[in-house]
Symmetry: C2
Subunit: 455 residues, 2 copies
Amino acid sequence: MSNPIDFAHSQRRRFYDELWQFLRIPSVSAKSEHDADTERAAEWVRVQLEDAGLEARTYPTPGHPVVVGAWSGAGPDAPTILIYGHYDVQPPEPLDLWNSPPFEPEIRDGRIYARGAADDKGQLFLHVKALESHLATRGTLPVNVVVLAEGEEEIGSPNLVPFVREHRARLAADTVVISDSAMFAPGLPSLLFSLRGLAYFEIHASGPSTDLHSGAYGGAIRNPANALAKVIGDLHDDDGRIAIPGFYDDILDPSPETLEGFARLPFDAAAYTGEVGAPPEGGESAFSPLERMWTRPTCDVNGLLSGYTGEGAKTVLPAKAMAKLSFRLVPGQTPERVRELLEAHLASAAPPGVELTLVELHGGRPWLASLEGPLFEAASSALEQSFGARPVLAGEGGTIPIVVELEEILGANSLLLGFALPGANMHAPNEWFATDCFERGIDTLIRLYDELAEL
Amino acid sequence: MSNPIDFAHSQRRRFYDELWQFLRIPSVSAKSEHDADTERAAEWVRVQLEDAGLEARTYPTPGHPVVVGAWSGAGPDAPTILIYGHYDVQPPEPLDLWNSPPFEPEIRDGRIYARGAADDKGQLFLHVKALESHLATRGTLPVNVVVLAEGEEEIGSPNLVPFVREHRARLAADTVVISDSAMFAPGLPSLLFSLRGLAYFEIHASGPSTDLHSGAYGGAIRNPANALAKVIGDLHDDDGRIAIPGFYDDILDPSPETLEGFARLPFDAAAYTGEVGAPPEGGESAFSPLERMWTRPTCDVNGLLSGYTGEGAKTVLPAKAMAKLSFRLVPGQTPERVRELLEAHLASAAPPGVELTLVELHGGRPWLASLEGPLFEAASSALEQSFGARPVLAGEGGTIPIVVELEEILGANSLLLGFALPGANMHAPNEWFATDCFERGIDTLIRLYDELAEL
C-alpha cells in the first residue's frame, strides 16, 4: 500500500484504540496531584512519534516536560514545518455534569466524548497519524518536520518560551502548523486569521480579620463580598462596554474587508441559542455576535467564592471574597497594559474598609495571521479535497499564547487549521470531537504536507 | 449550704466539666449529617434539667427535638417564667481559621473557645445551673419555671411555632426570659430593647446550559456570574442605602429618646476597628455605627459560588452562579414584604440571557421590648448586684425569630439579657465566652429568679 490516505483509512480501528489510550491519561496541568499523569502523557507522545518514524525526545522543564520529534530526511532544500500541539488538558470539574467519565472516552452519536478529545489531544494526534501514514507507505515525508508538544498550554505555557529560545536551532522552521481550534460549522472548514489574547487574574477582597455574625456586625462593617460584587458589576457599562478607563485605547480595529467577510458568514442566532442554551446577546450591543467573539475584548468572571456555600442558611458576614476574572484581548492590547489599567481602576474602586488585591495568573498576546502568499492557498487546497468545501477565513475567540512567540523567535509564519466543531465543550463538561472530523482531519493533514512541499 | 450563690461558686469546677460535655456535641442543625449529634444534645439537656430537679421531656418534631422542663412548686399565685434557649449551633466552617478545634472546648486568656460557647449553649447552660443552685440549696424556687430548649434556632425555628401553639397550656408563662445576646461592653451589662429581623435568600443566576470556554463564547454569551455580581452590586447606592424600590417605606423610626440614649453610649471607633480588623464604615453613611447596627436594615452577601474556584486558571464561562444574601430587618418590616420587593426588583434586573431565581431559606420578624413596668427594674437589680454596674439599654443587630412569636402566642412580655461580649465570634471561627461572664451570669440568674418573684 503506497498511498498514505488509503493507509490511514485501513488503520482507523487502531488509530481509535491509540487515541483512547491517550485520552485516558488525566494530564491536568493545573493540578499538581496529576503531575505523574502529565509526565505519563508526555512519554506516551514520545513513543508514538518514535513509532511513527521520527526521532523523539522528552525534555524536562521546571514544570511539565516538552516533547520534540524530528524528521529531516527531506533534505536542506525542502521546507521545514513545525507542528505545535499540547498534551495537557483543562481540569474536568464539575464532574457531576459529565454524562460519561471525562477520562473514559466513549463514542455517542458520531462524537468522541472525553476531556482533551478536541483540546488538544485529539488534534495533536491527527498530525502524529498523518506523519505515520506518510512514513509507513512511502518511507519518506515531502517536508522536514519538527513536532513540538508541550504540557502547559492550559496554564499559560510558562516554560515554553524559554525552551523555544534555548532550542531555537533544533526547532528552526519555515512554517508553524497548529491544529487546536474549530471549524466555523459542520462541513465548513476554516482557516484562522486571528486569535484573541488573554489576561487572567484573581481579585481578592478582604475586610474584617475574621468571618463575623451578620446580625451583630451587619450595617457597621462593609461586606467584602458585596464590595467585590459591586467592583465586578461596575466593570461593564449599560451597553456592555468594559468600563475600565483607557481599556479600548490601544485596539487596532479590523479592516473593512475583514468585517465584510464576517457579514457574509452564515450565523444563525436561533440555532446558536438552541445549542448553547442562551442567546448571543452578551458583550457590546454595538457589535454583531461574530465581531464580539472575534474582534472585541471581553471581561468574564471565571469563578466566585466567598463565605458559606453549603447547605442551609449561615448568617455570616465573610472576611474575604475571591473572583477569578479574565479578559480576552484583541490586536493592539497586551496583558501587561491591561494589568496596569485594571490595577489603577481597582485602586480607585476599593471602598473604605475593604482591601482589593490583584493576582495575575497568566496571559497571552493576541495574534493576527499574515494572509499574503501561498501558505493559505496550500491549506485551502488540502481542506477542500478532504471536506469537499472551500474553507472560510474565521477568527477565534480563544487564545493560543505560544503562536506569537513561535513566530517571533523562529521567524516563521503560522497556519492555524482546526477540526473541532462549534459546541465541542472545550473547557467544559462533555467535551467532544466528531469522528467525521477526526477521520477527515487525518486526510487533510496528509495532503497538507504534500501541498507545503510545493512552497 | 443554703445560699444558691455560694453553692454555684462551690460547684464551679463541675459546672465547667458539664459545659465541656455540652460543647463537645457537634449539634449543627443546618447539616443533616449531624442529626444524630443534634438529638444527642437534646437528650443531654433533658438529663441536665432532670438532674437539676425539673420534670423534663423531649418532644420529637418534623425536624430536631424540643426539650421542655418544668417546675411548678411555687404554686398558682407565684409568677411563671419561661426560659427559652437553643442547643443547636452554627456550622463551624471554615475550619482552617479556628485556632483550636470547634468542638473541643479550651480556655485561653479567660475565654472559653468553642462553637456554641456563647451562642447559645453556654448561655442556656447558665439558666440550668442557676435553677439547680436554687433547688439544691433551698429545695424550692421563688417562681414557677418552664424551660423550652429547641434545636432549630440556627435554621429559623421552622417547627417551634407549631409546637408552642400545640403546647401553649403547658408553656403558659407571665414572662419569657432569654439569654442569647451580648453585653454592650466588658463590665457594662445590658438589657435589650430591640432585635432585628431576618430575611435570608439564595439567588441563583443561570445562563447557558453548560459551562463554556470563555474564549470561544466570551463576548457572545452573557456571563451569569458577571450578571449576578451586577445585580448584587446594584443593591446598594453610593450612600450605602439599599436600592430596592420601596424597601424603606414600612420602617418605624425609633423615638428621639432612644436615639439620644445611643448617643450617650461609649462607642470607640478606633478600638472597634482594632478588634474587628475593619472600620465601622459600612452601611448608610447618614447614620452612626450604633444606629446602623441596631435600627437600620442591611443587605449582606453571606456566600458566593460560581465556576472554577480551585488552584490555577480555568478559562470557563460558568453556566450558573449562586449568592446567599440576607437582610436584617427593623420594626415595621416583615420577611414576607421584603421577599415581595426583592422578587419584583430581580424581575426587572435580570438581563437577557440570564435567569434569576429566588429561594427563601428563612425569615424572622424584628422585635421591640415593652419597657414599661417592673420587669426591667428586676433585671437591672440582678445585673447590678452581679456585675457592679447598672445595665444600659441596648439594641441587638441579630435576630431571635421566636421572641415575637412567644410573646404573641403566650401573651407574655420578654426579657432579653445576654452575657456574651462584643467580638465573641458568634457565627464565626473562634467563638468564645468569657469565663468571668459565665460565672457572673449564673449569679445574675440566681438573683433574677428571686427578683421576679416580687413582680
